[in-house]
């Protein structure tokens, strides 16, 4: 043991300082398993003070570190820095305070997303952001990635539901950002911190805003014989002035996967399914449902189902929520992409993705948040076939560039992480990136906090398998 490690061992009991290869293996990657890196050690703090101690140790010895929740990041966001420290926050999982009257909950970062709504349920309240990973992902990870879900158009992303956070900065200093009010004065420092992907500090205490559960839901499932028609139906709903809580589309391959996995009872032969959910006060939802009915009828759906009970509603959502993991049944491996396009360009984007899929000879399943233009193409490949992973990555890259070219974004909710940092220059100019980097360096001059993520050119975090597709194409240079 080096003196530095001995010092770390004096800060954490042996059960909460992992250094053996077998103990470290589960932390070597996140849900994007194509990237792996070996950390020097994993520490499992149980308090704010222990997080401060770990961060101070890293600063003193110039050891890079990554904060980690449940490791469900799909973009390599919680991939360790080779030879660095993982600060695992799963043990900081207490609900510190629930004030139903004020509609706030204060939690530790390792608290699980779904547990917030469960804790609030007895008071008729819930926590709105609902990533599909909500049964496992942590509030700290959600905050760092500004996670989204099916309800973002109406309710916004995680950032719109976080009121305050206690944060350990990369030099070990503690700051309080935000306050209990929905309003604030002065620059929105918390707004900057949320979504900063672990590069600006570690949140150790998070104040969340709760909402009353809607009184009524109206959930509709419409089947189409083309993706285009489903896309146009979304535009028509928006044009009618309705503001649904969620609008989701699944294509034929996604339907097949979901049916095989959970038997949601979807029309199997459909080329596209559209799920629209209205929510709110009963009289209002009833009136809106009549408008929605007219719009959907005019949109060329060949079958329309309305959930008549809570069970029927859950069944419709079950298929959608299971779609990602279900695709695993169709293919040994897949990459989930997460681009955004303006809603009016959805049809064009989907047609283009279909063309790309044919050109690359790889199947692509589409499941997406249609109301936000947030695409989730799932690129199916077989990692055992030489060259297929590289082809899948190249296809993923083309999809991201397509999204930017159409005026959208390279990520709607999964973050930039390790995976998409090479694409940041597609979306931002060098001046834009330089300003973000200046902020990063002002807070973390040694680039210790989650080094190598989000920004191209920062020291690489890991050795992946070969050059990035954009690198090979000569579009970008460096790591």
């Amino acid at each position: 043991m080096t003196p530095a490690l001995r010092e770390l061992a004096s800060l954490f009991p042996p059960t909460r300082l992992l250094t053996q290869p077998g103990e470290l293996a589960p932390y070597a990657s996140d849900a994007l398993t194509a990237f792996r890196a070996q950390p020097l050690a994993v520490v499992l703090p149980e308090s704010h003070a222990e997080v401060v101690a770990a961060v101070r140790w890293c600063a003193k010895h110039r050891v890079p570190y990554v904060a980690r929740g449940s490791g469900t990041s799909l973009s390599g966001g919680s991939l360790p820095v080779e030879g660095g420290i993982v600060i695992g926050l799963n043990r900081m999982n207490r609900l510190l305070r629930l004030e139903p009257k004020e509609r706030i909950a204060v939690v530790e970062p390792g608290f699980i997303n779904l547990q917030v709504s469960l804790a609030a349920a007895p008071y008729g309240l819930y926590y709105a952001p609902d990533p599909s990973s909500q049964p496992v992902s942590t509030i700290g990870g959600n905050l760092a990635f500004n996670s989204g879900g099916a309800h973002c158009l109406k309710y916004g992303m995680t950032s719109n539901h976080v009121l305050a956070a206690k944060v350990v900065l990369p030099d070990g200093e503690t700051v309080e950002l935000g306050q209990e009010s929905l309003e604030g004065v002065g620059p929105d420092w918390l707004g900057l911190f949320v979504g900063s992907e672990g590069l600006l500090g570690i949140a150790t205490e998070i104040t969340l805003r709760l909402l009353p559960k809607p009184e009524a839901f109206h959930t509709l499932l419409a089947a189409y014989d083309s993706l285009e028609k489903a896309g146009e139906a979304v535009a028509a709903v928006v044009a009618s002035g309705l503001l649904p809580g969620a609008m989701e589309i699944m294509d034929a391959l996604a339907i097949e996967a979901a049916e095989a996995a959970v038997q949601a009872g979807y029309p199997r032969e459909a080329r596209a399914l559209l799920i629209v959910e209205l929510e709110g006060e009963t009289p209002q939802v009833e009136a809106e449902a009549r408008y929605l009915d007219e719009v959907i009828r005019a949109s060329g759906a060949y079958e329309v189902r309305i959930a008549r009970s809570a069970e029927e509603r859950m069944k419709i959502w079950k298929g959608r929520k299971a779609a990602f993991s279900a695709v695993g049944r169709l293919s040994p491996d897949y990459i989930v992409q997460d681009g955004v396009v303006p809603r009016s360009k959805l049809g064009q984007a989907l047609a283009e993705i279909e063309r790309l899929s044919e050109r690359y000879g790889l199947r692509v399943a589409n499941v997406f948040h249609a109301g936000d233009g947030n695409l989730h193409p799932l690129i199916l490949y077989n990692g055992r076939v030489p060259g297929e992973l590289e082809r899948a990555e190249a296809l993923a890259g083309e999809i991201l560039r397509l999204c930017v070219a159409l005026g959208g974004s390279i990520t709607g909710e999964h973050g930039v992480g390790m995976e998409k940092r090479a694409y940041m220059p597609e979306m931002f100019s060098s001046e834009d990136l330089a300003a973000m980097r200046r902020i990063r360096l002002a807070l973390d001059p040694l680039e210790l906090a989650n080094r190598g993520k989000m920004f191209p050119g920062e020291a690489p975090a890991a050795h992946s398998h070969g050059a990035h597709p954009l690198q090979r194409a000569g579009v970008i240079s460096g790591g």
């Binding site: 929905l182 004065v185 955004v340």
Partner: protein, 361 residues
């Protein structure tokens, strides 16, 4: 004191101005004079030359415009398509600009329904203290790429950069609205009703507390559902409610938008949560004031010495922002400065060009 006023008409001219002048104060419509009145040595950047809507497709719910564009113009354009800025920026008729609304971080009564300005800003372009033109965020309703610079600019008071362009999410305005005014026998009963409403399934576009004990509620939605919802609401409240109807209804809220009508003196914004109200009410007797958005936001007009209000807010553990009045520093009450703030500010404005309250240095 002589002040130089420049009126750039392009982002490039803003860059030039920032590079050429030691101290800069951006100003929009000047509707918040405490924030936009220059101190010694400051060059005013009058942003009203940077106007115009750049992109607006109602089907996208997205709106992009130059920062000097007047809110009145924006609202008129959106209204043609049945849409609005749901955070309900104040001072529309007083000439407030988009950039000024974002930089001041101000929202109005309708923020109750969907949220404040931070919840609707999607993208920004600004000139930082080194004269670089920087873009953050994007022009789609959902985006997670890079640091969220758009949110950072909300409430930044021109301190972190000069906004040249902003992109917003917009929503359809309800097809019909109705307003009820309900008096309660005491503040405690009004607050109890406020809490019950906030925890209920009833969705309100506005929920204001007018001291001492009146609630003003605004419902919105489809016209055919409104009568039933109004009946339910009255039952829920269990008290007689005076409706405000027809053209009076719209006029009432337009009036509220001009916060200057609150009264003379310094106009101050105080963010809070409803549990703070009883103690504040004891301290604020006789001060013109109104609580917006279910007790999350207080605007008050303060005629006494500002130091007294500063002390009062500090004792209550609350911050405040002075919007009108002559002040050294518009941020009063609880000091929210911390290391994160200092470091980010230094990153975007290393030479302190936008240092607005230390012109005497």
């Amino acid at each position: 004191m002589s002040t130089m006023v420049l009126r750039p008409t392009s982002p490039a001219e803003v860059q030039e101005a920032v590079r050429a002048h030691r101290r800069i104060l951006p100003r929009g419509g000047g509707s918040k004079p405490a924030l936009s009145t220059p101190h010694q040595g400051q060059t005013v950047l009058d942003m009203t030359g940077l106007t115009g809507v750049l992109e607006y497709d109602p089907g996208e719910y997205v709106f992009v415009a130059r920062a000097g564009t007047r809110l009145a113009e924006v609202e008129a354009l959106l209204a043609q398509h049945g849409q609005y800025l749901p955070f309900d920026p104040p001072f529309v008729a007083q000439g407030a600009t988009l950039g000024g609304a974002v930089a001041a971080g101000l929202s109005g009564p309708l923020r109750q329904r969907y949220g404040g300005v931070r919840d609707f800003i999607l993208g920004v372009q600004f000139v930082d203290g080194t004269g670089q033109l920087v873009r953050g965020g994007g022009k789609v309703v959902k985006n997670a790429a890079g640091f969220d610079l758009p949110k950072l600019m909300v409430g930044s008071l021109g301190r972190l950069g000069v906004l040249t362009e902003v992109a917003f999410k917009v929503f359809p305005f309800p097809k019909a609205t109705a307003t009820l005014q309900v008096d309660f026998p005491s503040l405690a009963e009004a607050l109890e009703a406020l809490y019950r409403l906030l925890g209920s399934v009833i969705e309100l576009y506005a929920l204001d507390l007018v001291p001492p004990d009146t609630l003003v509620l605004r419902l919105g939605g489809l016209p055919e559902a409104l009568p039933a919802r109004l009946r339910r609401l009255e039952e829920f409240l269990g008290r007689p409610a005076q409706p405000i109807t027809g053209s009076l209804e719209a006029a009432y809220w337009k009036d509220q938008n001009d916060l200057n009508r609150l009264g003379e003196g310094c106009l101050v914004k105080v963010p809070l949560s409803p549990k703070r109200i009883p103690a504040l009410e004891e301290a604020l007797q006789g001060v013109p004031r109104r609580y917006l958005s279910g007790g999350q936001l207080l605007y008050l007009a303060w005629s006494g010495p500002l130091q007294a209000l500063d002390g009062l807010l500090k004792r209550q553990g609350l911050p405040g922002l002075v919007l009108r009045g002559v002040v050294e520093k518009p941020l009063i009450g609880l000091n929210l400065e911390q290391a994160f703030a200092r470091k980010v500010t230094a990153a975007l404005d290393p030479e302190g060009r936008f240092q607005p309250y230390a012109a005497q240095n």
